[in-house]
Amino acid sequence: MEVKDIYIKNMKTGDFKENEYLEEYVKELKNNGVNIFISKIDDVINWGRSNSVWPLTFATSCCGIEFMCLGAARYDFARFGWEVTRNSPRQADVVFVCGTIVHKMAPVLKRLYDQMAEPKYVMAFGSCAISGGPFKSSYHTVMGVDEVIPVDVYIPGCPPRPDAMIYGMMQLARKIKMQEFFRLPLQPDMKPYLEAEQEELKEKEEVADGTSK
């Protein structure tokens, strides 16, 4: 599939600064044996998904203020269908990680992420969330949220402007559009859980077999 085909209503493909990474993503998916032929049903579902992404209200520090600006009148992400901010991770599709993540917060963020239902996405907002940012040399900062949870879109800045955030949102919308809903690639951190679960099941079965025999 060509990246050119991914059409989102709010922004033309040519207006994106870089399209290469998406092509690489497609290649990677293909190499991993994921079929990326998108059917008409997928198209319809993705149209709905990419236009009604519900973010989790999650902000730890300064970048959160710019996130609030994004929600308010001037930048207004309601235009793109993103305005239904959820306070519960169980109802959210995407988490905007706005602000520094520190040692004490890392497990909390991980837990929030685990509580979200699939398919779920993460946007690292601001240099703190990307790499520790200005607090790189601190003893208590996590050097980027990708140490804790997988990230889909990185938005640099300290803080990034709300416009930059909208650009990041459009990138995510494209990513959603090109996914095959019924066969979504597994989120990287889910594998060990699934394996563990299956092993557990197997063990249980074995035990059950043992007792029945």
């Binding site: 600006c69 497990p107 003893y139 804790v148």
Partner: protein
């Protein structure tokens, strides 16, 4: 000052010296409590601004910055040291000043000094299983010692409260449980939209009534003070913006003023005027956001959108001159980073009448609303004595009738050229804390109006050396930020980076204020009272 000095001379062991407006009192650690209680009771030093934990390499110590509500310009710095680095113990002063409770926990967390007779010697910011005390000079920062944890802090750890008491001359350690077995506890935060940041409150309830609150901090502790010890002064300035990002400009102003005081640098008048106008604009922006969020917590999203809309006007003004919206990074040591934009004055002058008109609308829209009034009136009472003892500075303290505006007490920058009044209220209810912010916006507009046309011509910054080294000594600067008194304490050894820098966060005392104001009221009021105190959590955690 003479009076206190005279009174102190009756204490034979105290070494008293004057350093500008500050009286430095050094005592041996055995006499710490005695001196503190003398200062509190006989010299009327009723406001404990801050406790600074110090590591002097050969010894550990504390500095108690005290002030007096009757003569607020007078400062006393009480100092003591202990040479025991293995098991340092000092007397607690938490029964003299309520604010000391949290400050002492902070000192323990950072430096490992334990306080005798303090009922709660848990760490304040770091996890209870953290290895080492980061502000010690010999702290081992090896990340392998403290890896990023993947599990939440066990509730056990949070609830077990160690304490150390002096019994018959011997320190005796003990632990107790914070909550009883059958208490009903609600976790509020760390990820909750109404905590205004990542604050974790553990609330014990009796039906709907709050019995006890235990605030847990540190979910955004970034270690700014330790980092600063390795950074040069101009580098530190960038971190101060990120402490309390809603009054970033004002915090930065404080550090600049402190360095300028130390360097005896003459700052051009033009810079003073520009800085003051920026400070006041920041204050308005912060109060607007505070107002909007408070309304949103009550369920009025409209008010939030209105507040943010007006705030955007200020963001535009900032952006034009300084190049950024939120992290303005505009003050530098010696002045401001660049001259104001040619349109700056015009835009600010347009903004003043606009904001006055909008304030009327905000009052119409929200202040008169019977539901809002019902939720704000008669709840969250804070008396003046309590406010002083807790160190509740800023608008929240002024709503209880405590006149504590640093702009009036120690006029810095261009405040001495402006004629403005300190907004005070008497009752100390949630409603007073709400209305005082809107009134302060009006006052800030008045200040800006008086200054904007009189910005003197000339340079916008003084010339400084390429590498800024502060002379040896201790320097202290107070400013009034949007939430209260923000202080900077710098201990310099003559290097290009500080030996120790300490920021007094007004927000930590605000969270401390939350406890007496909410205990006994309904759990729904907790949100309102918290919003009316308007704290910013990264400022607490630093």
């Amino acid at each position: 000052m003479g009076q206190v000095n005279e009174k102190l001379s009756t204490l034979a062991f105290a070494v008293v010296e004057e350093n500008g407006k500050t009286l430095n009192v050094t005592v041996p650690k055995e006499n710490l409590y005695e001196t503190a209680s003398f200062l509190r009771k006989s010299c009327n030093c009723d406001f404990l601004m801050d406790i600074v934990g110090m590591d002097y390499t050969d010894s550990l110590g504390t500095v108690y910055n005290l002030s007096n509500t009757q003569d607020p310009a007078q400062l006393v710095a009480l100092k003591t040291t202990t040479s025991d680095r293995e098991n340092p113990l000092l007397d607690s002063v938490h029964d003299l000043w309520e604010s000391a409770g949290l400050y002492e926990r902070e000192v323990y967390d950072f430096l490992g000094i334990r306080f005798l007779n303090h009922p709660d010697m848990r760490r304040l910011f770091l996890r209870q299983d953290w290895k080492g005390h980061p502000l010690r000079k010999d702290y081992d920062a090896n990340p392998a010692l403290n890896p990023v944890p993947m599990e939440n802090e066990p509730i056990e750890d949070m609830e077990t409260v160690p304490a150390i008491e002096l019994k018959m001359g011997q320190p005796v350690e003990s632990t107790r449980k914070l909550f009883a077995e059958d208490e009903y506890i609600v976790n509020f935060g760390p990820q909750h939209p109404a905590t205004h940041g990542v604050l974790h409150l553990r609330v014990s309830l009796e039906g709907e009534i709050i019995k006890k609150i235990d605030p847990n901090f540190g979910y955004i502790h970034r270690g700014i003070e330790k980092m600063s010890e390795a950074y040069t002064y101009p580098q530190i300035l960038h971190l101060t913006d990120r402490l309390d990002y809603l009054s970033g400009t004002i915090n930065r102003h404080a550090v600049c003023l402190c360095c300028e005081k130390a360097l005896e640098l003459e700052v051009p008048e033009r810079a003073h005027y520009i800085r003051t106008i920026f400070d006041e604009l920041t204050r308005i922006a912060s109060h607007l956001l505070g107002w909007g969020c408070m309304a949103m917590d009550m369920g009025s999203i409209t008010a939030f959108v209105y507040g943010m809309r007006d705030r955007e006007k200020i963001m535009d003004i900032f952006e034009e001159t300084a190049g950024a919206r939120l992290m303005v990074n505009y003050n530098v040591i010696g002045g401001v980073a660049q001259d104001i934009h040619p349109d700056f004055q015009r835009k600010v002058k347009e903004f003043i009448p606009y904001m006055r008109k909008m304030l009327k609308e905000h009052h119409l829209l929200f202040t008169g609303n019977p539901i809002a009034r019902g939720r704000m009136e008669g709840v969250g009472y804070l008396s003046r004595e309590q406010a002083v003892s807790l160190g509740t500075t800023g608008p929240s303290g002024r709503a209880s009738g405590w006149s504590n505006d640093v702009r009036k007490i120690e006029p810095y920058a261009a405040y001495r050229h402006a004629d403005f009044k300190e907004v005070l209220r008497r009752e100390g209810m949630t409603f007073d804390r709400y209305i005082i912010r809107l009134d302060e916006i009006l006052e800030s507009l008045n200040i800006i109006e008086q200054l904007i046309d009189n910005i003197p011509e000339g340079a916008y910054a003084a010339k400084t050396k390429a590498i800024i080294r502060l002379p040896e000594g201790e320097f202290f600067q107070r400013v009034e930020n949007a939430r209260g008194e923000f202080d900077v304490y710098i201990n310099s050894k003559g290097d290009k980076s500080p030996y120790r820098i300490k920021f007094r966060s007004p927000c930590m005392t605000l969270v401390n204020t939350l406890i007496p104001t909410t205990v006994g009221s309904k759990v729904a009021d907790l949100i309102m009272i918290g919003a009316s105190l308007d704290y910013v959590v990264p400022c607490i955690d630093r």
